[in-house]
Symmetry: C2
Subunit: 133 residues, 2 copies
């Protein structure tokens, strides 16, 4: 079980945008070079963040991606859910009574993880940052 590379790219891009440029849009070309990934692919990933309302895209010359005004409240969990989806990480496939004890345990463990990811905002990280990305 692993988080996808797409999530990795999304998190790093968000952190870069937050740290470097709250103002001007940054082209996908530049973002992709930094992370050694193809621009087209990164673009598909960032489009998900656009649709989730975290960043906005500006088409045309001098365009690119930019954080939205309310970016300071964006958490790790928000970004991860935008890329990976929000399905829980365990589904009991066995048919027994109304509830599965195993499922309950695993889901409550997952909730602990999500709580931590929900409390960590991108903006917290920018504050501590000396090494960029």
């Amino acid at each position: 079980m692993k988080y996808s590379k797409a999530t990795d790219y999304a998190l790093h891009t968000m952190l870069f945008l937050a740290a470097a440029t709250p103002l001007k849009p940054v082209g996908v070309q530049q973002l992709a070079e930094r992370q050694n990934v193809s621009p087209t692919y990164l673009s598909k990933i960032l489009t998900k963040l656009v649709k989730a309302g975290m960043i906005e895209s500006i088409t045309g010359v001098r365009g690119g991606y930019r954080l939205r005004r309310d970016w300071e409240s964006i958490s790790f969990l928000d970004i991860i859910h935008a890329i990976e989806g929000s399905a829980s990480l365990f589904d009991c496939s066995f048919e027994h009574g109304p509830e599965c004890l195993i499922q309950k345990v695993v889901l409550s463990a997952e909730e602990k993880m999500e709580e931590h990811l929900r409390n960590q905002k991108m903006s917290d990280l920018v504050r501590d940052m000396n090494i960029v990305m």
Copy 2:
């Protein structure tokens, strides 16, 4: 990101063995039928639990699988690690300084989840159980 079905099968099998039969070995045929999975496939999964030292297998007539003596200390995390491996669920693929802040956040979130899974023993569940598996 999801836990595999194999993990689901392993957890349910362990719970069943713990609840039903601390004594006599149970054949994979019977275990597989309960979970609606092929015996050969389940066998491969259970072999991992054998190698991890959680259960033992008895070959030959009247054989099967049985919990080991110290089964009461086995946690959810033990079982999950035996099946999924122990690799962390996030690897930063970007080359920057000595440590990645994003990685640190995700790994500490993972640690919260693992802590919960480590504290939950199979034997705790058996105690609360009225619906079997």
